[in-house]
Structures are given as structure tokens and as C-alpha cells.
């Protein structure tokens, strides 16, 4: 069942009613101003032109740069570059940092520009759409951008609604107007809107429209799509307005020739625009870790710079006094000042250790990995033409770390295609299992001209009961199904086509139709049906809507005979609560409901009552009063409804089948093998949920299913064991004894009792007894908080020990609460998957929200991070894409930090030999190109293409998913190992060159600074390339290109920056003419480079090999080996299961 409003909305405080709209009076609105910026005042009522583009030609550069420098890293480098302009501390040539930063800013700027041009284009087309506005006395063809608040516009069939309009009149009877809201919530069924009858009757022609001067008073623009409360004041009367009279921007007019509307909210004030761009940024664990690491690196730099500067301070005294050739540099300053300047010099010099291009490469990898998800054919659902969609492009790696999945049931595990299976009328059950008795023939429904032939029903008894038409209860039962709903009907090719917001309703109305109670048409006040061939028209007195708190809907009708009747349908608990005492068949129906639930059918209870005329009149006044309220209208209405829905007569119950989606049991099995816990959170009955649990292999027969009583017991025991050692986080011994194969089944009510949230004064019966037993003397409030958090912890501890958890009868809020609890107490990565509006809270709360784009509209998808068409695709999303993304990002991060340290730490060691003067070792151009040309592409190719196992193997052996869950591939340890490795490599590179050059002699004088720089730089670059060549486990042609491009670019760009022509042009910028060429043609230098690279590479390779041969053999490798060896002599390796298949030890 689709709950249109999420629950969260209802608790928000009621807004003020300060939005006044006067029809056909543009000047009236112009006088209102609002404060925009300081003393600037803007118009209160915006016009209908929208500008989603951020920049124009003039503002692009400053605004974009301003935005980019909001990032800490960019700001830091800008700061360093500014420092560099001070000549005394400018250690690096100006281009060494400016060039890479400019490159990064340009890349990002171009991306923003492209996005913005696209936005400009779409703004242009949207603002330029034609429409007709009433100007003066007639409608003129204008564009959307010309519309202003208070205008009356005319819309035709299939037009898009240009602004939020109040429907005034339409060409249809009663001024009905049909709209399609696909662009707003993705729901494709038609909805009707209806004008006030006063405007419908009065505004019959253009002149009358032009004379219309009503004033609408309503709330300020808000983002709440389905809320609108206001009044229309016209000719001294007040009329109540609600969202049923509104046409929202973005809807499409259907089946209505012409309609007229008054513009209430235009442009950015419209509901859909208010809903745009409020995406809460979720960040992944790795992302946060990375930011912390960058800060750690920065702190390290400051410390190192400080130490080196202090060392310099001591040295400088010596230099001033003794080194005559240097004394002139320090003639006029104190050592402290010198040291201070040197500190900043080192800050500039060592800033190259902060990985500048990390962020942009990181983002690019995320983007492409998201594209891979969108491109995956295996996750494309052809029946709906629906590929998977990564709506968030920054969470991919977390897909590889999921430990808990919270799944909705209906529409997620099941198809949400409902078929009417069984019913229970006055205690008798009709309908039988098609599987149990195949000899049964489907009943023939050919006698009914309205039957659509889609319903297959096997129990002839029901048909007989209906056709006999003797039992009043049977008649009322079917009548209710034909009357109590919100389905819309359309005629297509002489056939009735039903359009329902929820598939349940459609199934019920269709069933009624096939059994002869046909819903024919609906106007605002009437419903017409054909009951066994007799056409009847009922007058609708009130519709008591469904929502997820009420869990029921009712309709109040006056039947053709003049009696007022109430028909209600809803969840069994709410209906049973409201039955007339002593209602017959209550017990039998309850029993039938249990049987239905066991067969995993969805049940609804039906009830009706006759309402006395007097009571109705009285109630009707209350109802009217409540419905024109501006404040707290919803609550008042609920109370009024409650008055009416009591003392009901039970008619019976319906049972609808909802089939499991394809591949659900396998997927759940696979995910469980991947050490992922799957919890099902559903609004269904406990029995239904448990049976679905069995059907999808979440529960198995050998599991001990814990229910409420046992849970209390276990928690009590847990309490006792933790009694003495308060604050101990471990679970008690008793809990651990029981952890073999348990499953937990709880209901929403139980959760409410167990976990009362802070502030809610709910007494827990156990609390007092426990308290007295404990004999604590704390202040009670504190104890209460302690208790609450303790209970939460105990419950989560217990639940996480279980193999499966099913929570039934939970509200959307509870769903979110459960997710929150698990996140809070287990510190795990969670994923929530759902398809309906009731899953939105949960999807937003979880680390990753997945929306199923299915039958229940798009609300879940629009709040989700990933959209899938089928639950079964989850296995591929997590086990393949998630796994790979995590692997890629982790390897990328490790390598990126390593490569930066390996090549740049040399600067620190060199300081010890250059008198602590922050002399850069490398050529400026090497620094400038290192991160953007020399080493960027191999690591990029690894981040995009790396695979440790093929997709097939990933799905075959889900056990290996646990590396991500345990953060094994990138964590502090890996980082510090990378740091140590990088440091070691830089030490080797530096000292090999140093000792080789120290005191050597040879033709050409190779021990000069430039040759030394070139030697160290070349060894560093080659070492780093060799490392990634070992790191890449998946060599495609692209990886080969990327790796070789590094070497080629190094040679080419060195040649470019070191040739004589360019030296002549700018001798101070290109200071290394032919240094590479001269040094790298010396055999001695080549030997030094070779030695450094080999000394660096060999240990790395040896450790890899050692890990490889000592590690548990990977199944992928093992199997491929055994397949290779499938010759005659190696038969024995072909055991059915390769060894080491067990999940790696925890």
C-alpha cells in the first residue's frame, strides 16, 4: 500500500498562512518585497522563469574558482603558491605547484562548465515552452517565463503544467481534471483533481475569468509535495482548498480537453523546484579515512619542517661566521629569523608530499565505476527497460563493505503483482490451492460481460454463493470491494481499464469486477457500479483516506435506496479493534486470516455498517468543520474519522498473493554466504513474514526461531550476566551459548515496548523489578537513559547474533530506527533496500540506500543512492561491483600514498646534505609533471580496471566478500605500511645515488647536482612504475598503454623541457638543459638507476611471492590451475570442491 506522505511530515509544525495570491492582479503582487541580501530587497513572489544554471559568462570564472577553493586541499595549495611569491622562501620554481593545480582546476572547471551549459540549455527550453495566459480580456500565447503569480492560465490536453496552479475549471463534468504525475513521483497511474464547485459553476467563459478576483491565502512555498492547505476568498465567502485541487508543476494533463488554473506558486516557489537539489551528502568510510590521512600527512610535514628549520637555525650561526662564500646571504639577520624563514621554505618544499591530484583522480575513479554499474547488462531488466542506476557516484567502495542488509518485503522480495487468491466471507473460506489439487478447473467467468479474463480462480463454491445472491454478507462483501477504493477508471477500446495507486487495490477491484460487481465510473460525488448486471449509483458522502498510521480506508455512501453506509477495509488489527462487540464469525475469520498468512498471502479485513441518518448529519457537520481548518487539519480529521469508524460489522477477509521475485532465494543464500546479514522489515503480518522468510531461504527448518517471550528471557539472562560488570561491551556468556542458528522474529509493537525512545514516557513493565533488584541509587532519569541505551544495545547484540531477523508490523519510522540502532551499536556498514514510500526513511538512514524501481512509484528510488529493477541484482551490485570498487579504491589509495612518499620523501633526506636549506632535489618540471603525466595513468588504469577475480568467480565464491567488511584492503595499518614502504624506497633511491656519487671520479664530472637529481628522479619514477606493474593483477591493453605511456611521457617531456631552444628562450625556467641526456647516457648512472630499482623491487616482489605461497589458495586460482592441469596425471586435483573453500578465518 502506498502511503503518499512520509510520516515525518506530520510532526512538522504547521506553517503560517502568509502567502496571498490575488487573481488577475499583477500589480498587487509586485508591492510585496522580501529581504534578500543586506539591504537589497527582492520580490516576494518569483516569476515563472527558472534559472538552475549557476553561472553566466561573467560570473563563471570568479564563482567557479570560489567554489573550487572551498575545498581544503585546493585552498592549501593556493596558500603554498602564494607563499612562493615571497622570494626569500620560494624554494620551488613557481610552476612546480602552479601547473598541476592549474591543470586540476581546469579539469574541474571544464566539467562544471559542461554541466552548466547543459543546465542553461534545459532552462532555455523549459522557460520557452508555450502556454496561454489570460491578459486583459483574452488568452494570449506566451511562454512559461512570462507567467506570474495570480495569472489565470489555460492548459490543453497533454500539456505540462507550468506552475503550481489552483484548478478553477475544466471542460470535463464537475471540472474534473486528470493528471499524470510521472515526472514528480514516477507513478504512472492517472489521478484526478477537481475544482471547487463554486469556481466550476461561475467561471464559464473568458470574460468571467477575467473578472475573477478571488484571493487565495495559503502557506508559504514548501517542499512538501502532497500538502497544500489554503482558502479561497471570493465574493465574501471562504472555501477550503487542499492538494486535491492543485495542479503541480511538472504534471501532465490527460484525458481533459481544456482546463484553467490560477497560478499560486511560480518558478522556484513551486513544489517540484523546492524539492530539487537537497541531496544529503553521504560519505564513505574510505573517503573519511582518506581525509584524515591527508591531515596526518600535513601534520607530519609541519613537524618535519619545524625540526629541519631548527637544525638550520643552529647551522646558520656557523655558516655566517665561517663559510665566507655563504656569509653574504646571512649578513643582516638573526638565526631565529633565518630559521623562521626556513620553516616556511620547507613548508613549500614539502607540500609536494601532500598528494594534490589525489582528490580529482579519486572522483574520476568513482565516476567511472558508477558508470560501470549503469552499463552492466546483467543488471538490465528488459521487461521494464530498466538498467541499474547509480544515482550517487561517491559510494561505490562502500558497496564492497556491506554487513547488514535491511530489506522491505513487498515489492522488494516479492514482485508486487497482486492476484486475488482467497477470501473468507462470514467465516467461510473460499478458494483453494492450485498446487494441491491440479485436477480442479478454473471457474468460468464468461457469464459476466465485464470479466477481463485475467483472474484465475479455482473454487466454484464462491461463484455459486455469489450468483445465488441470497447471502446479504456476500453481497456486501463484494459491494465493498467495488466501492471502497481510490481506483480511477478509463475506457479504452470499449474495455474498462483500472488505474490504481497500489497494486493491492487494483487486484481487489479487478476481482470484484470479475465476480460481477463491476466498478464502472466515478465522479466527485458518485460511484457507479454494475452489480450482477444491475447498474447502481451511490452517492459518496465522504472518503476516509488511507495512510500508514490509520492502516485503513473507509467510504461513506448513500446507496440508491437512501441508506447511509460505511464500508471499511484495512489491516486486521485495526479493523478488529473497531468491530461491534459480539460480532459473529470473528473467531472463524481470525483463524482464516492465520491460514492465509501461513500461505504467505497478504490479508485485508472488510467491515461495514449502516449509519443512522441522525448520526450522519451530526458527524457531517463535524467533518466539514475539520476539513476547512487551516491548522492541524490532518489531526482533526483523524479524530473525526475515528468517531465514524466504530461498531463495525465484520464481513470477511481477502487474501492476495504476491509472488516472490525471480532469484530472490538464491540471492539471499549467496549474500548470507558472503557473511552479509539480511534483515527483513515489513509491515505485513508476522505469519506472512515468517513464511516469506522460509520461502526465500532466509529461515530454515533447523533454526530456532526466537519470539517475544524467548527474547525477554534471553535479554534477562544477558542482563544478569552483565549485572556485575557494568559497561562491559561484550555480550554475556549466556548469549554466546545460544548463538547456533537462531532467528529472531519481532513485531513493531514489541519493539515499541522494548525500545521506547528517549522522551517518550513509556513504562516498561520489567523496569521496576529490575531496578529494585539492582538497588542502584542513581538519579532516576539517568538510570532511565542508561536503561534505554542498555536495552538498545542488548537487543542489537542479540539480533546480530542471529542468522536472520524479521521485523513485522513495523512502521516506516521503526524501520529507520532499527537501521539507526544497528549502525550505532555495531559500527557496521548498512544497506537498506525498498521500493515504496514507506521505505524512504530507512533508505535515507542507511549508509547505502537502494531503491527498487517497481510498481509502487518512484519515491524510494528518488531518495536512493542506487536504483535497481530487481532484488536479485543486489548480488551483482554487492558481490561484483561493490567488491571490485572497494578493491580498486583501496589499491588506488595505497598506491597513491606510496608513490607520493616514495618519490617525494627524498627531499627530506637531501636537506641533511644541503645544509638544511630546503634546496629542492628534483627539477621543477619533474615535480610539475610527476603527478599529472608521469605517474597518473597507470594508477588510474588500476582504479578503473582492476579485478582480482572475474565476475563469475565473485558470485561463485561470495566468501571472499568479507575482505571489504573487515576493512582489510585499506586502513591505518595499510597506510602506515605504505608510508614505511615509501620511506624505505626513498631512502634506497637517495642513498644508493649518494654513495655511488660520493667521492667518485670519472670523465665528464657526473657528481654534479643536476646529474644527481636526474638519477634519483629516474630511479624514483621507475621504481614507482615497477611497483604498480606488480600491483596490477589484471592487465588489459589499456593498462599496458597506461604504464608504457608513463615512460614515454617521461622521455618526451624531459626532452621538451631540456632542449636548448627552450633553454635559450627562458634560461631561468628551464634550468636543466640536456641533463637527462648527459647523465642517462653514462653507463655508471644507468647502473646506479638499475641498482636502485632492483633493490626496491626485489623485496616487494619477494614479499608478494611469500604471501602468495603461504596464503590459503584462492579458489579462483586453484580452480583455474586444476582446469589447466586436467590432463591424465593430475586427476586427483579435480576434487569436487577445491580445498580452502571455507571462508577465511575471522
Amino acid at each position: 500500500m502506498s502511503a503518499q506522505d512520509s510520516i515525518g511530515d506530520e510532526n512538522e509544525k504547521e506553517p503560517d498562512f502568509t502567502w496571498e495570491v490575488k487573481a488577475n492582479d499583477r500589480d498587487y503582487h509586485r508591492q510585496f518585497k522580501k529581504k534578500a541580501f543586506l539591504c537589497w530587497k527582492g520580490r516576494k513572489y518569483s516569476d515563472n522563469a527558472i534559472r538552475t544554471a549557476k553561472y553566466n559568462i561573467l560570473t563563471f570564472l570568479p564563482l567557479n574558482l570560489y567554489e573550487q577553493f572551498h575545498r581544503m586541499a585546493n585552498l592549501y595549495f593556493l596558500f603554498v603558491i602564494l607563499l612562493q611569491t615571497i622570494p626569500e622562501i620560494a624554494t620551488l620554481p613557481w610552476f612546480a605547484l602552479l601547473l598541476p593545480l592549474a591543470c586540476l582546476l581546469t579539469i574541474r572547471g571544464v566539467r562544471d562548465l559542461v554541466d552548466d551549459i547543459a543546465r542553461h540549455r534545459s532552462d532555455q527550453t523549459i522557460n520557452g515552452r508555450p502556454c496561454e495566459i489570460l491578459l486583459g480580456k483574452s488568452f494570449c500565447k506566451k511562454r512559461w517565463r512570462d507567467i506570474q503569480v495570480g495569472d489565470v492560465v489555460c492548459l490543453h490536453k497533454d500539456d505540462f503544467v507550468p506552475a503550481d496552479l489552483l484548478l478553477l475549471a475544466s471542460s470535463e463534468p464537475c471540472s474534473l481534471c486528470y493528471v499524470e504525475t510521472a515526472d514528480i513521483d514516477g507513478e504512472t497511474n492517472l489521478k484526478f483533481r477537481q475544482a471547487l464547485s463554486v469556481t466550476h459553476k461561475e467561471l464559464v467563459n473568458t470574460d468571467k475569468m477575467a473578472a475573477f478576483d478571488g484571493i487565495v491565502v495559503c502557506e508559504e512555498p514548501s517542499s512538501r509535495m502532497h500538502k497544500f492547505v489554503g482558502t479561497l476568498e471570493w465574493k465574501g465567502e471562504k472555501y477550503s482548498l487542499d492538494s486535491e485541487k492543485m495542479l503541480l508543476r511538472g504534471c501532465r494533463i490527460r484525458n481533459t480537453d481544456i482546463c484553467y488554473g490560477l497560478v499560486i506558486y511560480a518558478g522556484f516557489d513551486s513544489k517540484i523546484m523546492k524539492n530539487c537539489g537537497k541531496i544529503k551528502l553521504k560519505r564513505t568510510k574510505l573517503d573519511q579515512l582518506m581525509n584524515k590521512l591527508v591531515i596526518i600527512i600535513f601534520v607530519m610535514l609541519v613537524v618535519v619542517s619545524f625540526c629541519l628549520a631548527v637544525a638550520f637555525g643552529f647551522l646558520v650561526v656557523d655558516l655566517q661566521r665561517k663559510h665566507s662564500y655563504l656569509a653574504a646571504f646571512h649578513s643582516s639577520s638573526s638565526p631565529a629569523r633565518e630559521a623562521f624563514l626556513t620553516f616556511w621554505s620547507f613548508m613549500i618544499l614539502l607540500s609536494i608530499i601532500v598528494p594534490m591530484s589525489l582528490y580529482i583522480t579519486f572522483e574520476f575513479i568513482y565516476l567511472v565505476n558508477s558508470c560501470f554499474i549503469n552499463w552492466d547488462l546483467e543488471m538490465y531488466y528488459s521487461p521494464l527497460d530498466m538498467p541499474a542506476k547509480a544515482r550517487s557516484t561517491s559510494l561505490n567502495d562502500q558497496l564492497g563493505q556491506i554487513e547488514y542488509i535491511f530489506s522491505d518485503k513487498t515489492g522488494t522480495l516479492t514482485q508486487n503483482i497482486m492476484t486475488f487468491k482467497k477470501c473468507c466471507i462470514s467465516g467461510l473460506t473460499y478458494g483453494s490451492d492450485e498446487n494441491s489439487d491440479e485436477s480442479l478447473q478454473a471457474v468460468s467467468l464468461s457469464w459476466n460481460k465485464y470479466a477481463d479474463g485475467k483472474l484465475v480462480f479455482y473454487d466454484p463454491k464462491l461463484l455459486i454463493a455469489i450468483r445465488e445472491d441470497e447471502d446479504k454478507v456476500v453481497r456486501e462483501f463484494w459491494r465493498l470491494l467495488a466501492l471502497c477504493h481510490t481506483v480511477m477508471v478509463e475506457e479504452k477500446d470499449g474495455q474498462l481499464v483500472y488505474q490504481a495507486a497500489s497494486p493491492d487495490e487494483e487486484a481487489l477491484v479487478t476481482a470484484a469486477r470479475n465476480f460481477g460487481y463491476v466498478f464502472l465510473s466515478r465522479t466527485q460525488d458518485t460511484i457507479t457500479t454494475s452489480e450482477l448486471g444491475v447498474e447502481r449509483t451511490y452517492q459518496v458522502l465522504a472518503m476516509l483516506d488511507f495512510n500508514s498510521v490509520r492502516k485503513r480506508m473507509s467510504v461513506l455512501l448513500r446507496d440508491p435506496e437512501g441508506t447511509v453506509r460505511l464500508y471499511s477495509k484495512g489491516a486486521d488489527t485495526v479493523i478488529f479493534e473497531r468491530l461491534r462487540p459480539g460480532c459473529p464469525n470473528e473467531h472463524a475469520t481470525e483463524k482464516a486470516l492465520d491460514t492465509f498468512a501461513e500461505e504467505t498471502l497478504r490479508t485485508l479485513c472488510l467491515a461495514s455498517k449502516e449509519v443512522e441518518e441522525e448520526f450522519y448529519q451530526e458527524w457531517s457537520q463535524k467533518y466539514h468543520k475539520a476539513s476547512v481548518l487551516l491548522q492541524n487539519r490532518a489531526q482533526a480529521l483523524d479524530a473525526v474519522y475515528e468517531d465514524m469508524e466504530k461498531d463495525l460489522n465484520l464481513l470477511g477477509a481477502t487474501a492476495i498473493e504476491d509472488k516472490l521475485q525471480d532469484g530472490v532465494p538464491d540471492t539471499i543464500h549467496l549474500l548470507k554466504k558472503g557473511n552479509i546479514k539480511v534483515w527483513v522489515l515489513t509491515g505485513d503480518k508476522q505469519e506472512t513474514a515468517v513464511n516469506i522468510g522460509f520461502a526465500c531461504r532466509l529461515l530454515s527448518d533447523d533454526m530456532e526461531i526466537l519470539e517475544e517471550k524467548e527474547i525477554y528471557g534471553v535479554l534477562e539472562a544477558y542482563w544478569e550476566s552483565n549485572n556485575n560488570v557494568r559497561g562491559v561491551r561484550d555480550s554475556g556468556p549466556k548469549l554466546q551459548q545460544q548463538q547456533s542458528k537462531m532467528a529472531l522474529v519481532v513485531t513493531g509493537d514489541f519493539l515499541d515496548k522494548l525500545l521506547p525512545r528517549a522522551g517518550e514516557a513509556q513504562s516498561w513493565t520489567k523496569k521496576h523489578s529490575l531496578l529494585t533488584r539492582m538497588g542502584w541509587h542513581y538519579r532516576s532519569q539517568q538510570i532511565q537513559e542508561d536503561l534505554a541505551s542498555w536495552r538498545e544495545r542488548a537487543f542489537v547484540d542479540l539480533a546480530s547474533k542471529c542468522q536472520a531477523v524479521i521485523c513485522c508490523r513495523v512502521t516506516p519510522k521503526q524501520k529507520a530506527l532499527i537501521v539507526q540502532l544497528v549502525k550505532k551499536y555495531q559500527q557496521v556498514t548498512t544497506l537498506a533496500i525498498g521500493d515504496g514510500a514507506n521505505d524512504v526513511n530507512m533508505i535515507k538512514t542507511a549508509d547505502i540506500g537502494v531503491g527498487i524501481s517497481g510498481q509502487e512509484g518512484m519515491q524510494a528510488v528518488q531518495c536512493s543512492d542506487y536504483a535497481l529493477a530487481q532484488f536479485a541484482y543486489l548480488q551483482r551490485l554487492l558481490l561484483v561491483h561493490g567488491r571490485w570498487s572497494y578493491l580498486r579504491i583501496s589499491k588506488f589509495l595505497r598506491y597513491f600514498f606510496y608513490k607520493t612518499f616514495a618519490s617525494m620523501m627524498v627531499q627530506i633526506w637531501f636537506a641533511f646534505y644541503s645544509g638544511f636549506t630546503a634546496q629542492p632535489l628534483y627539477e621543477g618540471w619533474f615535480l610539475a609533471f610527476y603527478n599529472i603525466f608521469y605517474t597518473a595513468y597507470p594508477v588510474l588504469s588500476m582504479g578503473l580496471l582492476e579485478q582480482d577475480m572475474s565476475a563469475k568467480k565473485c558470485l561463485e565464491f561470495p566468501e571472499f566478500y568479507s575482505v571489504g567488511q573487515k576493512n582489510q584492503l585499506f586502513n591505518y595499518r595499510v597506510f602506515f605500511v605504505a608510508l614505511a614502504h615509501g620511506t624505505a624506497v626513498s631512502l634506497v633511491n637517495f642513498y644508493v645515488a649518494l654513495w655511488a656519487f660520493d667521492d667518485t671520479a670519472g670523465p665528464g664530472g657526473i657528481c654534479d647536482y643536476q646529474s644527481f637529481a636526474v638519477t634519483v628522479a629516474t630511479s624514483a619514477m621507475l621504481t614507482v612504475i615497477a611497483e604498480i606493474a606488480m600491483d596490477i593483477k589484471f592487465w588489459t591493453i589499456l593498462s599496458i598503454l597506461a604504464v608504457s605511456s608513463s615512460v614515454v611521457l617521461y622521455s618526451f617531456l624531459s626532452f621538451l623541457t631540456q632542449n636548448f631552444f627552450i633553454f635559450r628562450l627562458a634560461p631561468t625556467i628551464f634550468q636543466f638543459p640536456h641533463a637527462n641526456q648527459n647523465a642517462l647516457t653514462e653507463p655508471y648512472v644507468l647502473l646506479v638507476v638499475l641498482l636502485a630499482v632492483v633493490v626496491n623491487t626485489m623485496p616487494s616482489m619477494a614479499i608478494r611471492l611469500l604471501c602468495h605461497i603461504t596464503a590459503e589458495p584462492k579458489p579462483g586460482v586453484e580452480i583455474s590451475l586444476s582446469r589447466h592441469k586436467s590432463g591424465s596425471q593430475h586427476r586427483r586435483t579435480q576434487s569436487p570442491l577445491p580445498e580452502g573453500l571455507d571462508p577465511p578465518p575471522l
Binding site: Q919, W1035, I1109
Partner: protein, 344 residues
Amino acid sequence: MKRNNCQGLPSRMPDNTAFQQQQLPACRPSLTARAVLPGFFATGVSFLGMGILLILSAKSVKEIEITYTDLCSNCSKLRENASNFYKECTCSIPFFIPEKMPGNVYMYYKLHNFYQNYRRYIISRNNRQLLGEDNTDVENCAPFQRASNDRPIAPCGAIANSMFNDTILLSYYPNSSTGINVPLLSSEITWWTDKHVKFQNPKSSNLSSAFAGTAKPPYWRKPVYQLDQENPENNGFLNNDFIVWMRVAALPTFKKLYRRIHRIQQFADGLPAGNYSLDISYNFPVTVFKGEKGVVLSTATWSGGKNFFLGVAYTATGAMTWLAAFSLMAVHLKLKKKKASFQC
């Protein structure tokens, strides 16, 4: 190929390309013992061989080093006082070469504890001026940009100013009475690229007019166009000693090539064994900052001079690689056996 679905809209089905489906043909090299260990052994062998070769070739190099800071202590003392700037001081150091130094023999001067890689020192030069383009361009040369009379210094900057200015002559004594000056060449002691492109004299009819209007660096005795009185070609920015000095050293202890032995007459095959002496005109002060100066005579091979580091490092790396390879193999075999026994 995009199919159209029933509504005539283009299908949203993703393209089936190898890249988009992440099915690019690829090879997955795995680091198996079988693949890696032979590489280890081969590397070990070649490094051992190379190491031995390097050690042998370094051994074959004949090298003699004479540190003369202490041997010429009177001159050292004299230079500690800047007021003795224009006083000549010469010093003669006899020494003995026990073995013949065959082939090309090179003479280096060696400085110890001299920070040519000091940051402000290293940037204190002007490449444009040294290209001979503009004598007055003294940017970056602080604090040696202009002389007191505001004339631009040529060559400007701290590097040029502190140029090594000892002159070293080598004499051979075939017998105790008569000494022969060993002929020394100062050509081809620089990088070709430095001599021919990086350094150029300003264009003019003669050198002294080319440098008219400039001042000499304060520590210099003679202007730049009079550095070599004997060979007029070897003057100005193209002076070989100057070019060698301007190519700054990476480390505070360094050798710079000073002269080559001209292989004529009795020196055609190198330096014969016997008595020699160095005649040093001692100008360059080093004792103030606890520096040392020395002269190194050395033959050269393809692998540089008498530095054993590289040879030893290669040998050690080769040996370590072998050791690692053997231990890895041992581990591998042991585990393999274990696995095999498991499977049986």
C-alpha cells in the same frame, strides 16, 4: 545498436561493449613461485656477475689523492686573513707514484665541507648573462649583483664569485735533480653541451670590449676575460675551469675535473711510476670553515673511478637475491608437500 521499445523511445539497454561490460581481454599474471623464482635466480646471477666486474674494474683504477690543506699550512694560515688577499702563496708538495698509471690520467681537485648545494648559493647565478646575451642582466644573482660602483658583475652571483682559483702544476722527476712539467690539458673537461651552448661569450670584436662596463666578482683577482693568460680561447664565460665550477656539486664533498694529462713524450702511456711534485698557487681559503682541499690523480674506466660502492652493492644485492630465492623456494617446497599430503 539501440533497439526501440514499444513506445518508440530508444531503449535504455546499455551497450554491449567489452569495456562497458568490464570484459576487456586481459591476462592475469599471478606471482607463482614457478614464474618468479627463475627471475630471482637470473637477477641474482647477473647482479653477482656485474658486481664482480665492477669491483675488478674499480680495482684496476689507479688513484692517488693528496690533501694539501695541512701540507701547505703556512698558506692556509695566510688565507684565513682576508687582508692578505693579494699576497701570492705557493706551495710545493713532493709525492711518489709507486705504480705506473696507464692510459688517460685525470687530475681533479677535491673540496670537503663546501656547500655548493646551498639553496641560495645554487640559485645565485644568471643563465641569461652566461649565455652571453646581456651582461647587465644580474637578476637572481643576489648578493653579488653589482659592484660598489654600480657596475654589473660579470659573471654575477655567489657561485661564480666563489670559484676555485688555485692553480696546480704537476712536475715529474725522472731523477732527483731535473723536473719536467707534466703537460696538462684543460680542454674537454666539461660537458659538450655546457661548453657549446649553455655558456657563450658576449658577441664583440674582442673579449675585453665584450665585458666593458662590467665589474669582476669581488673574490676574483682578475676579470673574467683574463682567466687564462696562455690560451686566449679559454677565457670569458667559456673558460673551462669556470664552466666546471658553475656545474654545482650535489654534495658538500666533491671532486671536480681539473686537467687531463696530455699524452705526449714519456707520458704517452700515462704517468710513469716515480717521484712527482705538485706546485700549487694557494689562493682558495678553506680552513676557516674546516674545509679541506686535495688533488686527485686517477685513471678512469667505463665504470667511473675508484669507487667500490657500486660493485659491492651489486654483489650484495645479487647475493641477497639468491638467498631470498633459496629461502622462498624452501618455503614453497615445504608448503607444497604439506598441501600434497593434505590432498592425498
